[in-house]
């Protein structure tokens, strides 16, 4: 893999395009985003954009895939089997929250996609997300069986955690309005993380002993 001036530019430009596409898709949805607009955001011509990503569908898929790969990588319950449930949960919620903070646009694109019925992602969800989900549910059930946490519905526990964390990316505008701010700041995310974590931990009634 040569690292010529060109190939470096290429990589840099590609990722600039992807960031721009993410931004535009997040705001306008798939159909509402024109290649023209994405190109303009990335400061290149439409034709040049098409040179790098020959069509819109492909660009969209790349944006989604990038986001999902990050999520799948960061969000595995299982890695931390030695820890206490409380520690695992806290870390999980914190990770998920940071993803909302760091990749709000990717999260929004994902949300648009799922709400629309996941026409592009459905297969991927079945093949990649479900297996991990099933494993994680089993783990939580084992916690319950060992009496480490309250009897709680494991599936819906995950749904709630995902919703409660993801909302800080997807519905940020609503929160800004309600909190009377022009944008969510670092401090808001910290309060949110604390609130959600405590919320979940308290709901689980996690015991400190292993």
């Amino acid at each position: 893999m040569k690292r010529t001036k060109q190939s470096m530019n290429r990589e840099e430009l590609e990722s600039r395009i992807l960031r721009s596409a993410e931004f535009v898709f997040a705001e306008k949805g798939y159909s509402g985003s024109s290649m023209e607009a994405i190109a303009a955001t990335a400061n290149i011509s439409k034709q040049n954009l098409i040179y790098y990503f020959p069509n819109k569908e492909l660009l969209y898929q790349r944006v989604l895939k990038e986001m999902l790969d990050i999520w799948i990588e960061k969000l595995s319950f299982l890695e931390a089997q030695g820890d206490t449930p409380e520690a695992v949960i806290r870390r999980y919620v914190r990770e998920k929250m940071q993803l909302s903070r760091l990749y709000p646009n990717g999260s929004k694109v994902f949300a648009h996609e799922i709400i629309s019925g996941a026409p592009v992602l459905k297969e991927y969800l079945i093949s990649h997300l479900k297996p991990q989900f099933d494993r994680d549910v089993v783990l939580v059930k084992s916690w319950i069986n060992k009496g480490l946490i309250e009897e709680i519905d494991p599936e819906h526990l995950f749904f709630t955690i995902w919703a409660a964390t993801q909302t800080y990316a997807d519905f940020s505008v609503q929160m800004e309005v309600l909190l009377g701010k022009s944008r969510l700041e670092e401090a808001d995310f910290e309060r949110a993380e604390l609130a959600v974590t405590d919320f979940v931990v308290r709901a689980l009634g996690a015991k400190k002993n292993n």
Copy 2:
């Protein structure tokens, strides 16, 4: 107000159009929905649709407004001041959950709109939602001051409740995949309602005494 055959047909057709529009907007977003597609869903011609709703923007606003009016009507914390916090919270979560069950499409349209930065709804949120939100926050704070519930962040409590309930409308496809079902059934919503309510109530540590 005469109730001629025509005017009755008109009303019936209008609401059929609104339901169809809701359905299409939910799936495709604003830009992705064509008047043609909405008309086809309602089994009328495009020109006839335009006869009833002279342009797309207006139709979209009507759909959103219908949904919001229902929400605002059903979701006031304050009405029930006599009850215990636990009772108020339980009722609130149940109401919100039923709205997700009964109006999944409206909910999805709303979600698309907020994720996209609320270009249409922002003013409405400021003028209608924020005042109610502020009042509800005050109420929760008073509960805390009276020692009726644990010290919890009131704003983020609402964000979490909204997210956790709304997700059963917006992200239903993801859940279907993960639960291995072709669609969410009555029983799923009942389990969900129970799970979410218990979460929240337990997290609040609401005391039974008034």
